[in-house]
């Protein structure tokens, strides 16, 4: 409610002075018209004079408002009566027609002022609306750039404070959409301990998500301000909702992606597991069957197939296990100082069957320092890289294994094969789960080998990538040479 205020005397005085000034001004057109008509008095009849006197009345009304219009109407009537009606130079009114003239003057003044007033207020409303639109447009621009509830609140607070000319303001939001609730005050101290002048709720269709509390410099708000503030709040709420929707959509996408991955895994795994199982089943049922007395070499063949396929199944299961550990973040390398060539030698012995058709070239300098790695996991990296190379490179080609110091803190390992090159766009993707360059039907495997390498190398703090090199493809990875902040220990040779 507007508080009762004692009338301000000086303000009233100023108003009076203003009105007197306006009346003075209103006299100007009337006087000028009177003077002009007086000179032409003999050539004009009285009704023409009366009509022409409407001009100063309209001018005064249009320029200075109703009061000066009415004032000039009276002045014009008196001038008309005094100078132009017989007998001249008297204020006597002889005729009821003269009264009608006065009434017409007044009516013109009133109507004209109303017309002008309507145009003026229409203009003012248009200007105000334009300002509102501009402010709302600015707000929505700022909100579009806001990425979090905090930023939205900041935008709302700034705009609201500007518009309402608030001394203090507080925006509180939440807790919503998984973000914690929070409050933002302008200026940055706690809001005053009195009831705010205005509280604007932030409401979505479903629920209230917060509010803006405003303390004003000059209460209360004008209806225009209030309308604007509510529009701000509505925009802010919309922005919050839009963000929540985006959140939900991202989560839905992530879930969908992980669902897609899971079904890809399932189909890949069932296919991969079933192939060796089918071979094993066929071989064992043949051996169990009494129908054929198997000759010793044939028996041995079937049994070797079973033996090899069980090894392969075991490798597949191992890969799946590694992958699930990497996924769960449970792959914690137990790092110790190890000799890289010892790891590689062990792997080569284990993979002799797979690598039998290849020449394996190893170039590791004798003075390469010991590397801080988990022995079994690093073995797995080499097993997967070599298995991959053997799978894609042509039989009889060379696989080259190299290790060097990239700098004093990093070892660089590379496994080069003479297999097909990879489209440069896909060089990163080959480390993705289930990614294959060729059709899954043509090459066996779960499509997990390289992504396991990536998981292990990254768990060691290194980086792995693939490069097309002349005549083939190279896998390279780095191993940081620091363990708990220590560089590789130098173990002194002993004398005999």
């Amino acid at each position: 409610m507007r508080p009762f205020t004692i009338p301000d005397v000086s303000r009233q005085f100023r108003f009076l002075k203003h009105q007197l000034f306006v009346f003075g001004l209103a006299m100007v057109p009337v006087s000028l018209m009177t003077a002009a008509l007086f000179l032409l008095r003999d050539s004009l009849n009285t009704s023409t004079v009366a009509l022409l006197f409407l001009i100063p009345v309209m001018i005064s009304t249009s320029l200075w408002g109703l009061f000066s219009g009415v004032f000039s109407a009276f002045a014009a009537f008196l001038a008309y009566n005094y100078f132009f009606l017989q007998p001249y130079y008297t204020f006597n009114v002889h005729d009821s027609q003269d009264i009608i003239t006065l009434l017409i003057f007044l009516a013109v003044a009133v109507f004209n002022s109303q017309l002008v007033g309507r145009v003026r207020s229409g203009l003012a409303a248009a200007v105000a609306r334009e300002r509102e639109t501009t402010l709302l447009y600015e707000l929505s621009l700022d909100l579009a750039g806001a990425g979090s509830p905090a930023e939205i609140a900041a935008v709302l607070a700034r705009k609201t404070a500007d518009t309402a000319q608030a001394t203090n303001l507080e925006v509180s939001i939440g807790p919503i959409y998984g973000d914690p609730s929070f409050q933002l005050s302008i200026p940055e101290n706690t809001p005053p301990d009195v009831t705010p002048h205005v509280v604007i709720p932030l409401e979505t269709v479903r629920a209230s998500v917060g509010q803006i509390r405003v303390w004003l410099q000059v209460p209360p708000l004008t209806p225009g301000q209030e309308r604007l503030l509510r529009a701000f709040a509505a925009q802010g709420t919309l922005a919050l909702e839009r963000m929540a929707l985006a959140h939900t959509e991202t989560r839905a996408q992530v879930l969908e992606e992980s669902d897609r991955l899971k079904s890809a895994l399932l189909s890949s795994v069932t296919h991969e597991l079933r192939t060796p199982l089918a071979t094993i089943k066929a071989s064992t049922t043949s051996l169990i069957s009494d129908e054929i007395p198997w000759e010793t070499p044939a028996r041995h063949d079937l049994l070797s197939v079973i033996d090899e396929e069980t090894d392969y199944l075991n490798y597949l299961v191992g890969n799946l296990l590694d992958m699930s550990r990497i996924e769960a973040g449970a792959l914690k390398p137990k790092r110790h100082w190890n000799i890289l060539s010892e790891i590689i030698d062990g792997v080569l012995v284990r993979l002799h069957r797979i690598l039998s058709g290849f020449t394996v070239d190893i170039h590791i300098p004798d003075d390469l320092p010991v590397v801080p790695v988990d022995y079994s996991q690093m073995e797995q990296v080499f097993i997967n890289l070599l298995t991959n190379s053997a799978k894609y490179a042509p039989q009889g080609s060379t696989i080259r294994l190299e290790a060097n110091l990239q700098d004093e803190n990093t070892a660089l390992v590379s496994v080069k094969n003479e297999g097909p090159q990879v489209n440069p766009d896909n060089l990163d993707r080959i480390f993705d789960k289930f990614y294959r360059i060729t059709e899954p039907e043509k090459v066996s495997g779960t499509g997990l080998g390289l992504s396991i390498c990536k998981g292990i190398v990254e768990a060691h703090g290194g980086r792995i990538w693939a490069e097309n090199v002349p005549g083939g493809l190279a896998f390279r990875f780095t191993i940081p040479l620091r363990l708990d902040g220590n560089s590789p220990p130098q173990i002194e040779a002993e004398d005999l």
């Binding site: 296990l321 110790h336 100082w337 190890n338 010892e342 010991v370 988990d374 079994s376 040779a493 005999l496």
Partner: protein, 231 residues
């Protein structure tokens, strides 16, 4: 014919029990089977088997715990069965006195070889320890501190010799890294695998014809080393 060796299998998987019973019986072993840790401990005490095959993944108690309890009263050889993922448990069990381990899935050949080693080890621990150990062209004379390869003496440094002697006197058994480090370098070196790696590399260069494909000292990845002697 020597009396049949008696083997206690502590394993809860029925199909594995069935397979082990069939395989071991076919190789002239007498087989008892326990499906839980408790039952295994009871049977071990009641039947005094010659060797125990112990699965680390038992339903009622930790396999390592079974190992510890067995070692409180008996030196019966224990062979551990485990899956690839639990290196930590394997090392714990080996350090707690288990003699050897097998990773599932394993071949029958491996299993029988481990059993034979365990039997020999049991026989030796009851008699005089060997003073001369032979592995292919390699001969280690523990009393005279002489190592020869194909008849020629191999010059070893003090630590190299201590390492080789320790491995050779526990021949055919898997020895864990921490265990070797403690016994050759001292307890404070228990975790410094780099010493072991470096000295092992030097030792192999002196002893092995192809150091990259060792035949005398084998690596057990992530676990330890095993010195192989002639059967």
């Amino acid at each position: 014919m020597k009396p049949m060796a008696h083997i206690l299998v502590i394993e809860d998987e029925p199909q594995m029990q069935r397979a082990l019973r069939t395989i071991l019986s076919a190789h002239n072993y007498r087989v008892s089977i326990a499906s839980s840790g408790e039952e295994g401990l009871a049977l071990a005490a009641a039947e005094k088997p010659d060797t125990i095959i112990l699965d680390l993944g038992l339903p009622d108690m930790d396999g390592v715990e079974v190992c510890i309890q067995l070692r409180q009263w008996t030196q019966i050889p224990i062979i551990i069965l485990s899956v690839r993922s639990d290196e930590g448990d394997k090392i714990k069990a080996l350090d707690q006195g288990a003699d050897d381990y097998l990773v599932k899935p394993f071949g029958t050949g491996e299993l029988l070889a481990r059993l034979r080693v365990a039997q020999r080890h049991l026989a030796k621990s009851q008699g005089e320890p060997d003073t001369v150990i032979v592995s292919g062209d390699l001969t280690i004379d523990l009393t005279r501190y002489i190592v020869t390869r194909a008849g020629n003496e191999v010059k070893l440094t003090a630590t190299e010799y201590r390492l080789l002697a320790y491995l050779a006197s526990h021949a055919n058994r898997v020895l864990t890294h921490p265990h070797i480090l403690e016994n050759v370098w001292g307890p404070e070196y228990r975790d410094d695998v780099e010493y072991l790696r470096v000295f092992m590399s030097q030792l192999r260069k002196k002893l092995e014809a192809h150091p990259k494909k060792p035949v005398h000292i084998l690596s057990e990845p992530g676990i330890g080393y095993r010195f192989i002697t002639d059967a």
